[in-house]
Structure formats: C-alpha cells, structure tokens
C-alpha cells in the first residue's frame, strides 16, 4: 500500500499562490532581457515570412549578429506594432507603412538615419524623385525602402489593335473614347480601377499627378482644391463609372478578380502597381501575352505616382548593428549586392528606388521579358512623384474619408465639385486637429 500524504486546503492555496508569484516574477526579467540582449529584434508583416527569415539568416552569416524575427499579420499590422511599442516591447528594426513613418518618428519610436555612416551614399544612389518619400520636409532620413512601385496603365495590345487603336491613350478623353469603342466591339468592361474604399486615395494621387496637379503643398495643405483640374479628374471618373466603361462592381472588386478580367480579355485597361504585370503573367490566361505597360499615364502631364513601404529603426544601445541590418535589408549587403531587393524582385517583381537595380541582368531575368526596363527606369526617374504629405500623422484618417467620398461621388450621390470641397475641408480639419 502506498503511503499517501494528505495536503490541507490551506497548504494547497499557499503552494499555488507561491507558484503563481514565482512565475510572475520570472516573467518580468525575461522580457527585459529580450530588449537588452545582443540579438536584434526584427518585426515584419506576413508577406513571405520564410523569405524574410532567409534574408535575416544571410545577414547573420555575413555579420555574425543574430536576429530574431517577429511576424505580425498584415491586417492590423500598424495596430499590433503600436500596441507592442506602447506596451514596452523593444524592436530594433521593423517594417512600416509609409503613412506611419512620420508619426513613428515624431513619437520617438523611429530614429533618424541621416547622421549614420553611409546615409549620404544611400540617398545619393536613389532616384532623386524617391528621396522625399523617405525624408521629413527638413531632409532628415527617417525610413528606408522595403520596396517601391509605380502606378502604370496596363493595356491589352491585341484588343486595342482589333478596335483600330495602334497606341495606348495619351489623355483622359482618349482613354474614354477608346473604352467606348472597345465596349461597342464587345469588351465587357474596358477599364478597371481599384476603387475599393481603402485604395481610392492612391488613385487620387495617380490621376492628379497625371494631370499636373500638385496634390499637397510641402506643408501638407490641400493644394489640389485650388486647381480646377481636380474637379475635371473627378468628373471624368464619374463619367467612366456611370457610362459603363468600367465593371459596375469596381467599388468592391479585389485585384484577383480584376487580374482575371485582364487575363481573359474581358477588360483592356488596368491601372495599378507595375508588378501586377508579373502577377498576371504568372497566373496565365489567354490574353497575358498581349498585356503591356504604357510609357506614361493618360493625362496632360503624363506623370504617375510612386509608392512603396518602408523599414525603420529605433534608437538604443544597438544603433550601429540596427543600421547595419537596415542597410543590408534596404540598400546593399556586405558584398555590395542588392540581394534583398533582388529576392523581392524574383518573388513578386517588387521594385527598389535605385536606378542601377533595373540594369542588373538578374533583376531583369527575374522580372520577366515582358518588362521594358528603360521604360520602368524612366518612370521612376522622370515620370513619377512621391507625395510627402502621405507621411503626415493625420493622413490615414484622410484616406478613409477619401474612400467614402469618392465612392459616393462615383455612384452619383455627390457632385465632383462638392467632393473636392469635402476632401479639402477634411485636410484642413485634420491638420488643425493634429497640430
């Protein structure tokens, strides 16, 4: 018979209490150690986490510095990042959405980098048009390029040719006219626009720039409101939607559905990031061999909008190592290779704001033969702009307002001129609120 030792209720509670207390005490220093160790803490969202891990392993092999990778889902990334930072979690290097970069810098969560070694070389190698995207209006470098892209007009050369057009449209009116003819010739929804609420604001920049409208002043004032061409752009959008040049489901359609329409030839024009040509080609379909990128956006100025997301780093005892990792990830590795950007080019034709990047045979091979690299380079160098106001702390709130108002306008529930006023009023209100 086993000798069973009885335990009183009091003993049980005392033991359990002591156990819980020791667990709590053990947890606290562990989290502090996490922040103070030699290992760098890297945070990113969930686009190909295995590739991110591979990059970090390569960095460790080159530098000897180990890096912990923490993945936060893309949906809710900003919230997750801010919650962790406010909760005292230390992160050395992290992905960030560009519109949050100034907000994080102002809060002291991101460090300026222009005072660190090689910063001048980094900025000097970029397309001049790209630099303001990573700097404050005062010229402080506060972020580095995770990837870059330009918005382009994709078009189906065969369908255009079949309708008697030997070149893509040069102006908005041309685009409308070509769509009208294509529709008469049986192309169901000639023009595709990514007009879901979240994305309307990027389109706003693309079309304002294509018409030569300055969207915002350097201080973030709504310069677009003072230019009559803004209302013209809105009127054109409304006409394209209401006259049936687009699919009526454009206000909720996602890129998956839109790419399918291009791949199958039920649409002939698609304005979105340049890397969608690779995605459409990879997906296959009867029309992919006929898909091209127009050298300029239709519009009196022909410029387009340059976008991308960024990497930022925090201050602290690991600054030198963090900067070393940032340079590896967003500029060059120890061998002078843009290995990380090249890898993203292979994965999804993501771009980088460095001219020499597009001359690299490896990048060209990975992008695909269907790209004209001189054209892409020219777009980055001469035919696109960034919008620095997008880095302002109030900008995400403006973005949601743009989505609501543009959709109302497209549906005919808001006059184009009133939409311009509404957007401008919102900017004024937000700037005041955040000042």
């Amino acid at each position: 018979m086993r000798n069973r030792r009885s335990i009183s209720r009091r003993q049980f509670l005392q033991t359990a209490g002591a156990g819980l207390a020791s667990l709590a005490l053990a947890g606290a220093p562990a989290s502090r150690l996490l922040a103070q160790g030699d290992t760098l803490q890297f945070y990113g969202w969930d686009f190909q986490p295995d590739t991110i891990r591979q990059h970090l392993d390569n960095y460790t092999a080159q530098s000897g510095t180990s890096v912990d990778l923490h993945i936060i889902p893309n949906v809710g990334y900003s919230t997750g990042l801010q919650t962790k930072i406010l909760g005292g979690v230390h992160m050395d290097v992290y992905y960030n959405f560009k519109y949050n970069s100034t907000r994080f810098f102002n809060a002291g969560w991101a460090r300026r980098m222009d005072d660190l070694p090689d910063a001048d070389a980094v900025m000097g190698e970029m397309f001049a048009s790209s630099v303001p995207s990573y700097t404050t209006p005062e010229g402080q470098l506060i972020s580095m390029p995770y990837f870059s892209a330009v918005h382009v007009l994709h078009y189906n050369e065969r369908l255009l040719s079949a309708s008697g057009f030997d070149a893509p449209p040069e102006t908005k009116q041309d685009l409308y006219d070509q769509c009208k003819k294509l529709k008469e010739d049986g192309v169901e929804a000639p023009y595709l626009a990514y007009w879901i609420k979240e994305f309307c604001e990027e389109y706003l920049q693309v079309y304002l720039l294509s018409e030569g409208v300055t969207p915002f002043s350097p201080e973030g004032e709504p310069a677009f409101a003072d230019d009559s061409r803004t209302a013209d752009v809105f009127e054109w959008w409304q006409a394209m939607f209401q006259d049936g040049m687009t699919s009526p489901t454009q206000l909720t359609d996602q890129p998956g559905e839109q790419m399918t329409a291009m791949q199958n030839g039920t649409s002939a024009f698609y304005v979105l990031h340049h890397y969608f040509l690779k995605l459409m080609n990879s997906g296959g379909g009867p029309e992919v061999d006929h898909l091209r990128i127009a050298g300029r956006m239709p519009g009196s100025d022909g410029k387009t909008f340059q976008m991308g997301e960024v990497v930022q780093m925090s201050d602290g005892p690991n600054v030198d190592k963090s900067w070393d990792l940032v340079k590896f990830y967003t500029w060059k590795d120890a061998n002078g290779e843009r290995s990380v950007h090249k890898s993203w080019a292979a994965a999804a034709a993501l771009g980088a704001p460095y001219p020499d990047f597009y001359d690299d045979p490896e990048v060209q091979a990975n992008y695909g033969a269907y790209y004209d690299f001189d054209q892409i380079k020219d777009m980055f160098a001469n035919n696109s702009d960034v919008v620095q106001a997008r880095n302002q702390p109030w900008y995400s709130e403006f973005q949601t307002h743009v989505g609501d108002e543009i959709q109302r306008m497209l549906q005919g529930n808001l006059a184009p001129a009133d939409a311009v006023t509404s957007l401008a009023d919102k900017v004024v209100e937000l700037r005041e609120q955040y000042s």
């Binding site: 209720r9 509670l13 809710g76 900003s78 919230t79 801010q82 406010l86 907000r103 102002n106 809060a107 169901e188 879901i196 609420k197 979240e198 699919s247 009526p248 489901t249 454009q250 206000l251 909720t252 359609d253 996602q254 559905e257 399918t260 329409a261 199958n264 039920t266 702390p393 995400s396 709130e397 973005q399 949601t400 989505g403 609501d404 959709q407 109302r408 549906q411 529930n413």
Partner: protein
C-alpha cells in the same frame, strides 16, 4: 491545562477565520479573472469613450460627452445604424429558420443522415475570412457560381453584377453570415431535438393531437430555451459581424454595407481614434444588449401564454 485551553481557543479562532474567509479565498480566482477579462476592459472602454487619447504622446484628456456628440451628429453613424438593423434582420431570421429546418430534417432517420450531419458542420468550421472570400466568388459578376446557376437554369440571360447594387450587396453580405450561422444554429437545435422523449409524442398521439399540435406543444415548447440561445447568438452576430463584410465590401459600395462594427474598426484601427472607437463600441454594445433582451422577453412572454 491553561495551555490546552489556549490551544483550543486558537483552533476555534482559526476555524472561525476559515469559515469566514475561505469562501472568499476560493471565489477569488474566479472574481479576479472576471475583473481582469470583463470588468476592467469594460470600465476602461467607458472611460476611454469620454476621453481623447493621443497614442503618440501617450496622453489622455477627459473630453466629457464630446465623442458621443460627434458620433450622434455624424451622417455615417446613422447610416450605419440603418444598415445594421437591416443586416441583423436577415442574420437573425434566416439562420434561425433554416437552422430549425435542417435540425428537424436531420433528427429523422433516413439513409445518408450521417453524411448530412457532417455536411451541416462544414460551414461552421470555416473561418469568417474564408466565408467572406468564398461568397465573394459565389456572387462574382463574371464567373460567380450563383450567376452560373441562374444562367444554366435559364432564369437570366446575362450575368448580374450583384455587388454593384446597394441592396444586393447588403443581402449577400448578410447571407454570407447567415450561411455559416445556419450551421451553428442547426447543431444547437439538433442537439436539443435529440433530447425530446419519444413518449411525449406517443402520449400526444393517443390524446388525438395532430402534427401541428405536436410540433407546437411538444417540439417547439421543448426547444424554447435552446431557441432563445440560438436567437441571442444570432442577434449578437447580426450586430457584431465584421470579418466577412470587411473582406467582401469594406462597407461599400458607397455606404451600402457600412455596419456599426465597420465604423468601429475604422475609428479604432485606421484612424487610431480610441476615444471615438470606444464610444462606438459602447453604443454598439447597448444596441446589441437591447435587441437581445427584447427577443428574450418576447420568447418568455409567449412561453407563459402556452403554459
């Protein structure tokens, strides 16, 4: 002798202490859990709704009822309330009725019943995001299954862009939610149906009760508590659904599917306006609780009529 008496007194005192305090000690873990998980966040949300929270400067300013004044003065909020009431009407009605139908069907003995029961669980096993993506494809204007079916049956001669129409967009986002919720409702109701003693039906038959009377006075009466739970769950979903709608429409086209939960997400996680987000959250909580209580009252009031 004296020391023995002292020892006895001490033991009695300890026993008295045990009687008085041990219940509290034993309750403490549960109370702490409730406080940490429910009461503390609730109190914080109420406090936040009266505050302006600056996350960056880590500064919270008391602003009184300003957030509520702004919310109730907003066009979008009232639109969201209107849309949400319509959405909830579908999400409460459809899964409850179809769930009851499937439960009544699958409680019967027939060949293939176990396959039917397995299929019934499948929608419930899908995450809401997948449900949203799935229904997006079902109602797609170019190659959606629904259009394909209607076309094959000869009911339409051209594919319909359902999601371009404000009314259809609301109906189909609600149907996506109702589809998954039907599965859950049916499982609960089926479980309840299986507990009804066969004797009750036999006795009712002997008493001359017809099929309708048996359903009303035995089946429905027996299901009433479960039905209340099912209705409550569906009311909660009708007002708190977010994921599938966000995936399908982001609140569009226009404001057609702008639920209060979508508004809450935008205030909190896009604008980072935690004060307004908390205000929306409190109003949403009160609406959900109010509608839920109405249903409970209605069911139990009708219960006394039958009894």
């Amino acid at each position: 002798m004296a020391s023995e008496q002292l020892g006895k007194a001490a033991a009695q005192q300890r026993k008295h202490w045990d009687r008085k305090w041990i219940p509290y000690v034993l309750l403490a873990p549960a109370l702490v859990t409730i406080f940490v998980i429910i009461l503390s966040p609730l109190a914080t949300t109420i406090y936040y709704s009266f505050s302006n929270i600056d996350l960056i400067r880590d500064r919270t300013t008391f602003v009184g009822i300003d957030n509520y004044v702004e919310l109730f003065g907003s066009r979008l909020f009232w639109k969201a309330v209107e849309v949400n009431l319509k959405f909830a009407a579908i999400v409460v009605t459809v899964p409850t009725l179809t769930g009851l139908f499937f439960a009544l069907l699958l409680v019967e003995n027939f060949k293939g019943r176990s396959i039917g029961r397995t299929l019934l669980i499948l929608p419930w096993a899908l995450p809401w995001i997948v449900v949203g993506l799935l229904w997006n494809w079902v109602v797609n204007a170019q190659f959606g299954a629904l259009n394909g079916l209607l076309y094959t049956l000869g009911l339409i001669d051209k594919y319909i862009p359902f999601m371009a129409d404000e009314d259809w967009a609301l109906v189909f986002t609600a149907m996506a939610s109702a589809w998954r919720q039907t599965s859950f409702s049916a499982i609960l109701l089926l479980a309840a149906l299986q507990t009804i003693p066969e004797d009750l039906y036999d006795a009712a038959k002997v008493d001359g009760a017809g099929m309708r009377a048996r359903f009303r006075f035995i089946t429905f009466a027996w299901l009433r508590p479960t039905l209340t739970i099912v209705l409550l769950y569906n009311v909660v979903l009708g007002f708190l659904q977010f994921d599938a709608v966000w995936i399908m429409t982001q609140g569009g086209p226009g404001d057609a599917t702008m639920l209060i939960s979508v508004l809450l997400y935008r205030y909190t996680f896009i604008n980072f306006d935690l004060g307004m987000g908390a205000a929306v959250s409190n109003v949403l909580g009160l609406i959900t609780m109010g509608v839920g209580l109405i249903f409970v009252r209605l069911i139990y009031r009708s219960h006394t009529t039958y009894a």
